[in-house]
Structure formats: C-alpha cells, structure tokens
Symmetry: C3
Subunit: 114 residues, 3 copies
C-alpha cells in the first residue's frame, strides 16, 4: 500500500501511495557548491528519485522550496527555469529558512504523480 | 491526468490530480497593503483558483501559512476567521519566514479536494 | 467526502480525504518543556490523531518539521529516531522557523495514509 525508498533509521527518501509520490526534502550532496551548483544537485536528486518511482519532472504536483538566503533567489531561478519542462511547470512556493546544515543553501520538497 | 492552470515559464498556479488540487503559494498582488489587506488578497486569489478547479474553501485539506512577521499573526487571524466557513475549517500550520519579495507579508499554500 | 476532526473556529486538527490524512501543525501542549519533552508531546499528539483516523506512524507519507532553533536539531532527532518504526521511516524535511508562540520549539506537519 505504501512503497518506501532508501529507508534509513531516521527517514526514507520517498514514499509512493495511491499514485502520488512524496519525496523527502532534497539537499546538495556537495555542500561546498554555490547556489547554482547546489540547485543542480538537488534537481538531479529529484530526477533520480522520481525515475525510480516511474514518475518524472513533468508530473510534479507541488514544489516547496526553502532557500537559506533570498539573495540567491535569482540564481536559483535560472537553474530552475532551465530544468522545468515548458507546459508542465509545477505549482511552487519559495520561502527563506535556515537549513539543517549551515553549508546547505537550498532544500526542495516535491510531491508528484506517478 | 494532471490538469495545470496559469502555466508560466517558472511555475503554474494550480495542478489538479486524482481529485486533489495543489495550489502554488499565493501572495498579494498589491504588496503595499497592510497585513489585513494582503491576507484578503491572498484569500481572494485562493477562492478564485479553487473555483476554477470546481472546488471551494469548504474543501481545503490543509493550509500552510508563511508570515513574514509574527507580529502580524493576530491581524491575519481576524481576516482568516472571517473567511473560513463554520464547520469546515481546515487543518493549518503557520510559521514565520521571509518571503521572496520584501513587501510581501503573507504567503499561503493550499491543498484541497475537488 | 472530507471528514474533519476537532473543528474549531480557526482550524481543524485533521482532515481525511480519499485515503489520505492531513494533520494540522502539531505543537506542544506544555510549552515549558525542553526540546526533548516538546518533541515527545508533539509525537504523542500525532499518534493520537492518526489513531482516530484509523492510521498510525508506520503509514506517514511525509513529515515537515519546523524547529525554532537548529541548535535543538540533534536532541529532537534522538526522540524522533526512538519513535519511528524500523522499515517504515517516512520522508522528512526539517527547516528552522519561528513558531506562532515564542515558547514553542517544534511544530510537525504530517500527511499519512489511512
């Protein structure tokens, strides 16, 4: 009924239920990257997870973006707009919030259809 | 399978999938308004989007509120409580967060049933 | 079609729709507790709500955690990891945000399957 991926002791990275995919907040694997690099890493991680669930970025139902410093908003959007697919851009909300590790500049929480 | 509304190059304002409506974070069109005015504008925008999906404010499944300054919490709640429908008030969470434009005082992210 | 629980004038604590449970942001009833105590209170509240909907913590689809001070992150995680069930840990995202009452140290927003 619920399929979970990358199940750890604290959390899993993705759950699929009733045709909807719930991703954990995705962050950069390499926190030394700048906002462009971290955004690319996060979007790559989202692509990989969605693919494993049989979904993809054209099926995103909502993206919640947490950005550590709104001064990075414009540079993040350049990478984002290059990633989304014309005609299939998802509902999105972006706010500023400090993230769990100080080197992280962006965290994205995605919900998608399978 | 996914119906999107107001699809732009960065995001869309709403997606409908399997009987559930996912709205983008709604903000005030006129950022010069005070918290009461901005909250009214945001709730009006939510009403309009929900209507286009065949839903309405009695069918909200969750509202996530981001408020730029918690000093505005009480004034926001006055407008909110005047808007919600008795017996159909939705689950809600409110936290403080800086928003993408400095003039914005509130952003609300709504999930609803069709 | 939508079943609501603890419906107040401002919000309800839970809505169930199409096999999915949407909880309001849960906070500690006793705000004088430290982060460990508040986290336990919040997780107890989530357990109680989920039980009333015929769900439980093994069926969580996503947990969004707002923590008022990231210095409390490690202590929160100790309580969290003691609570989750091995093999059923949910997708999670944690960011720092000021909460509606200054004594609150943590707020958790849960979505689960019934």
């Amino acid at each position: 009924m619920i399929q979970r991926f990358d199940v750890g002791v604290r959390m899993s990275e993705m759950a699929v239920h009733n045709g909807v995919v719930y991703l954990a907040g995705q962050v950069a694997g390499d926190g030394s990257a700048d906002i462009s690099g971290q955004t690319r890493q996060v979007l790559d991680a989202i692509d990989s997870l969605l693919a494993r669930a049989g979904s993809d970025k054209t099926k995103i139902l909502r993206a919640q973006i947490f950005i550590a410093d709104l001064a990075d908003f414009a540079a993040m959007n350049v990478v984002w707009e290059n990633w989304v697919v014309a005609g299939h851009t998802p509902p999105r909300a972006t706010v500023q919030a400090a993230l769990a590790r100080p080197e992280w500049k962006i965290e994205i929480v995605v919900t998608a259809a399978v």
